[in-house]
Symmetry: D2
Subunit: 425 residues, 4 copies
């Protein structure tokens, strides 16, 4: 169940169908293509993840969702201009058969979009219950459900009183509290229905005590937010690399150009602020300036996003990184990432649906609320109170794989490996 | 003890002295600046590595070595043009007090250099024994010794009969076997004297059964080769990142421009071949095309090195990487690394000296011969027969740190971390 | 005479002195190093420009100016951190001997700077007359004078009534009209004294009818504004190249990072607006979208400037250019210019002083007011009413050289050159 | 008439047909889209070039040619993978109707290609006469003819005795002189038939006294060689820019990756040598190190081409340029050109056909032999003995346009423009 059926959702859905028909490969999806090493390096045991843990099969996945623009998914995919026309035409009837339900939307939270087909209700509670009804209806046709937000970035919101407890939140729903944005209505409805909720955008949404409480109460998993796709993906790869080598960083300038609807929405300073916070956080956690003041205390970090229509969904992220090494001598690294927003995001959305569904069926995981082991997928991973979130892509990957090993009763991997060597003493 | 006292060695030695006098920081050195997390994420236990394991102190380090150009280290450092004159002048008397011993050299193995001050001997065995004498002499002045090769890249050598056993090798020394290059003379001499040997260049050197045998026999540690500094450092960071995300790679083109003596030596195709082999190997091991044929089987990998005098020691590595994601859609990543060869290498050389010395004093490590836990430092890490080498920088880093935890009796880290969460079931 | 003695002015003055003493070369200065071809390609007549036209000699140049921070030029140059300390120390007494006069300044026009040493006066007219007195005083010590603005970028001003005639302007001076910025006070004073005025910043200054009128009346030359140094220099090189080849341009994204005082001032949106206007204008004039709608009508042009302290005066300009060729197929060009702001600007400032002085002595030029032949030096060249300004660097260069040929009575060059060929018919 | 009907030729021919049918625009073609300014800047007279000079109309162009692979042009275009399938399908019957004639080929001159359909003959003279017969046949169907070489780069040839006169050359034809490559056979045949000959590859071909003589004798124009498309196009734009600003250049490193047949051919060192010579020459002529030793004498110029299959016809050129400015301070410029080889070349081929045809009909041009005014199109422009070739793109453009003005009796443009200004004296 996908609130927001634009570029990412159509790329995901069209792609899954293409894969099901054998027309393409699910490149980029760890759940479909990834393997997991078990035992020692020389044992040769590396099953596919989907064969190792009991994931839902692609063949059994059914898609639905909500959108503010109406129309069927073939039209939406053509508008998004991500996949080639030829490819879409091969699965056109399938795409045409999916039509989004009207969305709960409020332009105060996403200023640059003008909706065409939305729900109306007397207050936010009413709208949220309409979403619950949509879910209940879908439950009649499917065994299990997962919700993943693929809608736009909302304006920046800070936590307030209405977010502090489930009771306050539910009171706020009735009173139309401005602290409750549309994405929260979906999250509340999903969790209330016992359905896991994942978040592809940097919106506040479930990052509030009220919905954490609801998640644990309902055994409905939640996780981090904002798909880690382009520039931040690379940033959480390079920053750990500099740190492992104890190379200092004096400046990191990141600029993005993108021309899709996401770029248009982020051209609004209020939405950009939400994104910026999500993007700026990663370096501090990874680099630990408090532990390494000589290396990272004075790091100047700047992130810019520019709406640039000529490229459409083809995003470009350019980074300049000023580093310094032995005795303080300066060096520079520049990275230019010519990527595609939705192509990178779609397989992450797929994986999250499948792994959140797995979490919901795994006793040792579902009661935890936050699924920290899925940090791997997010720009803003979530974590327990008092524990910093993990941003380092490689720690995230290790955490992810050792969690799978753990729930299946396999030995965890530590990479110690001294026992490969004949010992002389 | 350093064979080859050019840019890297002088940058290392001048830097250590500058650090000892409080004039600069040992940025880039894990042994000096790194910390190691012990226990849980929220325990706040992150001692400096040098406080956690019993490393030699910088204050106790004494340098010596061999070189083919003669002159004292102040002159050598000025010629290398890595460190600024002002900085060198502050420690000029110290640098002038160190004068390399004449080197064992043979132009057949490094064609672009013309030596000024070298050892002469009736055969390779004689030369190697002269090196042993130099070591014995240095032993009278110091408690413990480590040897690290910082000389040039030799021409490409393949393993032959003379390398297959210590007996064959020692016979070859007397018979001037062409399979024995100067760097092997140093390695043999060091190991024979029970001294650990590390290798900053891609030469074959200890990667032969004969010297593996000698290493184990003498409890004298050896490890991988060729400092992982610029482009390969970044390559072993990005390739694992693509793999964790199941992104395919269709092409990887790497070019380097550098203008120092290293560049000059590598302008000779025979020396370049040695370097090329070292640089080309990393992708196959990291990406596991046999496990992921859809993603990496057709990867076209090309590495070029160009001698380009205008830059001196300031190297530039440019990479173009062609990747593909969801359904096979192509994307590109370009990386331009404006780095400094010796600035990146010097702290690695320092760390290796200190950690090899630690290994030689650690009963559970010294008898292993190959110190795989130091793979972190090398373009061509070494590993036990039948076990592939680890090239992924993050696995290397994990292996390194868990080895330190292991030898000090601390819990290994797995990043599982489920116990941070209150469990509902 | 230089209003604003910061990074550019000190780099200029220190450099001229270094050149006079034979310590360095005036690289980047057309007046000092440039040659001019006379006659046919195979005649071999290419005298130095300074030998071809009667330019003032560097040995005869005397510097003075105004600044808001006080202190001597050695201190100012050290603060600017452009030239190396060693180099400045060689000419320290010379630099210490020059102390700027207190400046006419008003923080409403440059918000990010806090002055230390400024003129006070009862109104703008009073301040302007104080500048005239400074000029008069300098006239007693020198034969001829030129003024060049090297101060900061002021906030964006549009033309208003006070700018429409000299009479209105001089009335505005007395009435403290907000349309009159400090840079206009200097320009008015200079022209009133019959001295040429050039402008290194994008401020409105002489681009108003009032000061155009004064320039012609006093035979005191004026010219364009805003030194064409880094990114715009390259832009006016590449855009003409695309046009000569009839390659379309769909997007041009330019971002800059710089960490000097200029960057700090431009971090204020009002000052940035002035700069942005200056930088955005060039493409439209060069590409002529009205003449080539299929190629350039839909060009999306965006310019960003980011204050980024880690680099100081070392600016970096990154451009992404989306072009299209045959049948509309897209291509991309990316340019990364690692430049130095003041190093590029200083020789332009020198040339402008010498050529403006030449113009003031050349009967066929001095009465023209605007010296369009100096467009070569400016991001925002000036031109006669009804004639578009020339932005194409190569047309500017041709115009410049043919003007010199013209005033010296040499044949203009057209590059026709058919007469090199033996004619068969 | 096109010898070599691969990527460039099919892109040209398919494109011309698409343009004729109104399916696409001839972007990149100066002959089709360019205008020429006549008179003063403010007169607004800028007719299309094709309306100003009597060019052949696209509607009247008929294509034929030779190739070593056989098959029709639809198949050749599909193999080349330059134009999209959809686009080719729209004009499939037209493309299928064109089938190349068997080519004169010899693998000694292009080692990496294995031909399928070639002419056989008893010697080179015989082969050349077969080409003359092909031309004669084509003459029966068309009014006028032009030949343009779009075949591969041949191995490097130096001038020898056989090239020194037409008589020697024609004797060499009979004697199978190894100095005569296949491209020379085509050129000789064309000129002998009085047809202009242009050369898209860097082969020696007409750059020999023998064929210069034949060109003048037959009034059949020749011109430069090797289409100036990607990296060299940009190089001849940037080098003049540095020179106009008197910026020094200490190093220029250019690398190319391309994966088409051209890349494959250039992977052979002998063919690369021919290309390298063509590419290396441009900087020396533009920068005039003999005139500016302080700026350009020590320039280190290196050009690399790498065969890199993942990209096909999509070439990438990466340049690093080390420049220096005021007092010698260093700066860097990096350019990454993601271009498409045949998309850039096709419109140049079209223009050359039309302008060479114009030259052949223009009395003041046809007898000159070398058409220097077409230097604009070539990496290696040709020029009269004793006159250096013009490499500067902007001088080339000026020369081109002033030649057109000259032959049509319009005033030449000098960009002096003093008369736009009201003169006060």
């Amino acid at each position: 169940m996908i609130p927001g059926m634009g570029a990412v959702a159509t790329t995901l859905i069209a792609g899954v169908e293409a894969v099901r028909r054998g027309l393409a490969k699910p490149i980029g999806s760890l759940s479909q293509m990834g393997t997991i090493r078990l035992g020692k390096r020389n044992e040769g045991r590396s099953p596919l993840i989907k064969d190792f843990v009991p994931l839902a099969s692609l063949d059994d996945v059914v898609f639905t969702g909500w959108d503010i623009f109406g129309g069927n998914l073939y039209d939406a995919a053509r508008t998004a201009e991500v996949l080639e026309r030829d490819q879409l035409d091969q699965i056109r009837p399938f795409l045409e058969s999916i039509e989004p339900m009207p969305a709960a939307f409020n332009q105060n939270y996403v200023k640059r979009l003008t909706p065409k087909k939305i729900k109306t209700g007397k207050n936010k509670c009413d709208l949220a219950n309409q979403i619950r009804n949509d879910i209940a209806e879908f439950k009649t046709k499917t065994d299990r459900q997962v919700m993943i937000w693929a809608g736009s970035t909302e304006v920046f919101l800070e936590q307030s009183a209405v977010h502090q407890s489930l009771a306050a939140f539910e009171k706020g729903l009735v009173e139309d509290d401005p602290g409750i944005s549309p994405s929260m209505l979906y999250a509340w409805a999903a969790l209330k229905e016992g359905i896991p909720f994942a978040n592809g955008a940097p919106n506040l949404t479930v990052d509030i005590p009220a919905l954490n409480e609801l998640s644990r109460k309902m055994n409905a998993p939640i996780c981090g937010k904002d798909f880690k796709t382009g520039q931040t993906f690379i940033k959480t790869v390079l920053a750990p690399a500099f740190k492992t080598r104890m190379l200092g960083v004096s400046g990191w300038y990141s600029t993005n150009i993108l021309g899709n609807r996401d770029g248009e929405v982020l051209d609004d300073p209020d939405s950009f602020k939400t994104k910026e916070e999500s993007k700026l956080g990663v370096l501090d956690v990874i680099l630990q300036p408090e532990l390494y003041p000589d290396l990272y205390k004075d790091l100047y970090h700047k992130v810019r996003i520019n709406y640039y229509p000529p490229r459409g969904d083809n995003k470009e992220g350019w980074d300049n990184i000023d580093i310094f090494g032995w005795l303080g001598y300066p060096m520079q690294l520049k990275v230019d990432f010519l990527c595609r927003d939705s192509i990178l995001a779609a397989p992450l959305a797929l994986d999250l649906c499948l792994f959140m569904d797995l979490a919901a069926r795994t006793p040792s995981l579902r009661g935890l609320g936050i699924q920290e082991w899925l940090s791997f997928y997010f720009k803003a991973p979530d974590s327990a109170p008092g524990v910093y979130p993990e941003h380092d892509l490689f720690i995230q990957s290790m955490k992810f794989k050792n969690t799978l090993r753990h729930i299946m009763g396999e030995d965890l991997i530590t990479h110690l490996g001294l026992d490969y060597y004949t010992h002389a003493e």
